[in-house]
Symmetry: C2
Subunit: 221 residues, 2 copies
DNA sequence: TAGCTAACGTACTAGTTCGTACATTAGTGA
DNA sequence: TCACTAATGTACGAACTAGTACGTTAGCTA
């Protein structure tokens, strides 16, 4: 998540607006993800930075806007990753499976992002709503899904007339739940969904599920 | 959620430990679900009760224990509902579909519970861990799933050797995500997953997915 | 190199928030 | 009916927390 390197410069007051801003965002991301919006402490964020609380207000205006900025950057990272998607050279079945796996991997690799999204949902997505930037940029993954689905339908591999947004929701559900609800699920069922030993199992389970859904003859009722 | 009725008694100080306790729990459930653990205000909970803040500390000890009590009751409600499950007279395919639908319905009917679970996950399930009661009671639904899966395998209807906990996770993922991430998903993709007009669509989509997964020949790779 | 401003630091405050000390009373059992 | 205790109410305090007033300086530019 674009973390900030140590400067090779000597100590003393150094001025670097970009670095200061980025460092605040890094630490704020961790702190908000750790404790939730209200649980996060502006003083704590400042303390874990090489700068002071004053700078948080200087650059971001307040706690609320800081959280919005954190969200904006986190969603930006996802969007970048989705733009790297390169699965359309595969046949539709393999492409969808690969897409599901990459979604799976990305969720696993970014638990902080998952937590931020959970937190934002607790607050009714009010920060997304307040952010012009996050409004309606859509997701590159969605376009990829749309194209794969179309080609799968054409070639007759996919039986169902499935909507791209719905399929995206289905894939995300599984990936998100596994990371977001890891703790309660583990406490209640004694099973760690993010156990590395089970990783491959759940990864293929997701792919199997999605492919089965798309290729089923939709008869048994 | 066991809400408290108005008493037919006249005004003036009335003593009813059970009622006071239950009323605090009711209001606390709403307040925690509304604002998260740290966002919730003890004073606000007290204000919306016919009693005072003093009683919260008298009965529960503190904010932390109050939240734990709220969780305990919320999970209790779910467990009761799961004990009502009556699907095993159906054939395995219909039984699983029905179970999925009931899970779907229950999630939709209890958004506050979903929010509480999200909140508890943000805090690493520490309250569940601290609660003796919530430790390892397991879920009645899990036993039902186990039996249906066994009977489905025997009769040859289900191809896959699927684990009950895994299937439970799969079903819960979809139901949970739909409610919990409603706000961010809606803001980003312009689609309300909990739109009543789409309810039947998503409900059957879940059933189709689960049945497809369980009856697939698991060949296409 | 002088001066200007973006970038930064210190110290403080106003308001909030969890929690409690202390006083009171309803209802029960002897 | 009296006394005792569980249940309740009031008023307050200590600690925290977001935010700010005010002063300082690095580094660029003319």
């Amino acid at each position: 998540m674009t973390s900030v390197e140590e400067p090779a410069r000597p100590n003393g007051r150094i001025r670097d607006a970009a670095r200061t801003r980025a460092e605040i965002l890094d630490v704020a991301t961790q702190e908000f993800a750790r404790a939730g919006y209200d649980g996060a402490r502006v003083d704590e964020i400042a303390a874990r930075t090489r700068t002071t609380k004053r700078m948080i207000y200087y650059y971001f205006g307040g706690k609320e806007q800081l959280f919005t900025a954190v969200l904006e950057r986190a969603y930006g990272v996802i969007r970048e990753a989705e733009q790297e998607l390169d699965v359309e050279h595969l046949d539709p079945v393999a492409a969808i499976r690969r897409l599901a796996e990459l979604t799976f991997d990305h969720h696993e690799a970014h638990p902080d992002f998952i937590r931020l999204v959970s937190i934002e949902n607790i607050h009714g997505a009010q920060h997304i709503a307040a952010s012009g930037e996050l409004g309606k940029i859509g997701s590159p993954a969605l376009d990829v899904i749309r194209r794969i689905l179309a080609s799968g339908r054409e070639s007759g591999l996919f039986t169902a007339d499935v909507d791209a947004v719905d399929l995206h929701a289905m894939i995300s559900s599984f990936c998100f739940f596994r990371v977001a609800n890891r703790h309660t699920f583990g406490a209640l069922f004694g099973r760690d969904l993010v156990d590395p030993a089970q990783r491959e199992h759940y990864r293929s389970m997701l792919g199997d599920m999605v492919i089965a859904y798309l290729t089923a003859d939709r008869a048994p009722r």
